[in-house]
Amino acid sequence: MRADRFQKQPARWWSSLIWPLTGLALLLLFNLFFTKGFFHLEIRDGHLYGSLVDIINRGAPVMILALGMTLVIATGGVDLSVGAVMAIAGTVAAELINNPKVPFPAVILAALAVAVAAGCWNGLLVTLFRVQPLVATLVLMVGGRGVAQLITNGQQIYFEDPRLVFVGNGHLLGLPFPALLSLGMLLLTAVLTRKTAIGLFIESVGDNQTASAFAGVNARTVKFLVYTFSGLCAGLAGLIDTSNIKSVDANKIGLSLELDAILAVVVGGTALTGGRFYLVGAIVGALFIRTLTTTMYALNVKSDVAPVPKALAIIAVCLLQSPAFRRRVAGWWAARKS
């Protein structure tokens, strides 16, 4: 074989991040010019404050949802129930925290356990009963809020327990706690997927399920685990969101966040058809979406028209990611020049 025909390609782990980061950078650049004080940071009482911090802070639920969603989407599925599961976890926590007999760790554990159970339910529907993921998780998306309503008797619950309030509002080492939680979850997910074989199995099942089965990969276990994990992520996101506003309204917590999470995953470079997944990409995607929302607020865009520019920006990033689109633009550019 001729030696110079192949060149070793340096493995560039960041290459998948180029487009989501470009999108985020463009958005920040826009804000640099059009939104006053967007980059202003200050330290108050030893805590960091500012729009940027706010984005990371308020973006935490979607970041965490996006981690679970990334794995689900990588297997070729989708989890529409995460918003509703957030509501269930939030109500469970709020209900229990107001009961002085329940110790605090039990409150957190119970809320997370319920969310994990919801994830297991999705996983069972998808694997054992072979229901299409879209349909299977739609069941909980629609029914989950009803369950939450049952728990609260349709009431809005308020709480003041400082420990629960800390989850969504506290600071640790000067940094907002939700941001640290997201970072922790990112690390945990990365370790879980890359230090065991599950990451490989998720990608192989999502990329070619038949071939994976022929190679002995147990698609059922893999899928069951990712839906369960997505449930856990939703539970944590629900705790943060509930704690953030110190109250829970089963109809409002996590409303439409499943869509934000899916968009974050797609912006992050993971294909909806499954296969290779990008966790850091999903985090960047979630930040992108949160920044968009904040930008809309800052520019006083009315909330009923806000989805339009938001959709346009997301489409732009998705187009940037498509090699076919980039080729076309390059071809068109070359044709114009000559």
């Binding site: 025909r5 390609q9 074989a197 990329d207 038949t210 994976s212 022929f214 002995g216």
Partner: protein
Amino acid sequence: MTLEASASLLEIRGLSKSFPGVKALEGVDFTVRRGEVHALMGENGAGKSTLIKVLTGVYPRDGGTFRLDGVAIAPRSTKDAESVGISTVYQEVNLIPHLSVAENICLGRQPMRWGMIDWRAMARRAEAALARVDLKLDVHQPLASHSIAIQQLTALARALDVEAKLLILDEPTSSLDAKEVEELFQVLRKLRAQGMGIVIVTHFLDQVYAIADRITVLRDGRLVGEYETAKLPRVELVSRMVGRELTKMKAVERGTEAARHAPAPEVLLELRQFGRPGSIAPLDLTVGQGEVVGLAGLLGSGRTETARIIFGIDRARSGEMWLGGKKTAFRSPRHAIQEGLAFTPENRKVEGVIPHLSVRENIILALQARAGLLRPISRKRQGEIADEFIKLLGISTPGPEQAVMNLSGGNQQKVLLARWLAMQPRLLILDEPTRGIDVGAKAEIEKLVQSLREKGMAILFISSELEEVVRGCQRVVVLRDRAKVGELAGDAISEEAILHTIAGSSHAR
């Protein structure tokens, strides 16, 4: 314009194409005349498919010119290419599995009536197109319900349905058997007589000498030369392609010869009236340790189906299976793999490769699946295994991290072989293992199979290439119409004997 130039239908000059990390083609010239069959030859990864894809607008080119009928062309898509008169069957059949056969044949040029698809006309047209490759099918069935060979013939029928000046066939015969190949060649001869230019890529030298008028050889992305078939002896052709000495097939033959006369090996796999209605009638079959047993038969004779029920992909409905003296029945491939079985499926695109994953990940996938979720193979070990097989099988790739879909067809096949060889199975089932693999590599693989046998592995070998079966197998089980019709052993094994067994039972019916 010179006389020579006007005689040529297609002229490619100085074609170059690079992919990240690979110079796939460098300054290649290629000329096809009217009314000739031109074989494009070269090892796996030489650049044949890339040349075809660049010519037909699947990939943009980096440099070079195309002329068709003396006119410069620059197709930007397969459809563009069809509209200037180039019809192509690509190596990886790229039809749509869930659409019907008729829809696949007529896709993009459906007969219309009052602004709507005329389904009846479409069915008629599809049937007519299939008739040209001598195939009768229910054209309303989804394509996926048919074997890969039928799919290949459907792709051919589709290509013939286009009004073309130039017909390009990239390994059209890789899953066809002798009879169908002959039928295809009849069609090609007719088209050649009508003045069509035909480009064919194949790794079967017999077929080249049966049909091609001229040969162009590529090696490592460069042009080696253009030859008249009649003036290029086989050995010459091979050495032009490979650029080195070939493994002697004689050695394989001698090894098999010796093994055929060795005492009967200890039985590892035994099927007793094992079968499944609709796929294979109950059959008896044994494979011993250190034995290569061939499964021969025409397409659709039940070879793959037999492998599928052994490996637990389909469940058997009758009979028993014994493995190493224990009665077993596998519920899934996973279960079979745990018991030391391995199976390289014939349909590599659907059942084999994980396209976006790397060569390394594809190779260690089954190994990791067997080890389980919680016992990850270290990255270092993965790299070592991948490197070992890349070297052993001569997989041509810029490195172990290349996505498998970016490899040439034959090299993807080698990756799949590597996946299963890495398992060191007790019983290895090879379903068309050399499909799309070049002559040099084929010899290496036959040698490898032999050395595995010598180490005591049991091997069930399925192939449409009788020559390969005869050369490597100690026993041959012959199937016909989804039933076992005979078994040959030892010196009784020959191509004629196998063909006779296949035909004999057809007379009996």
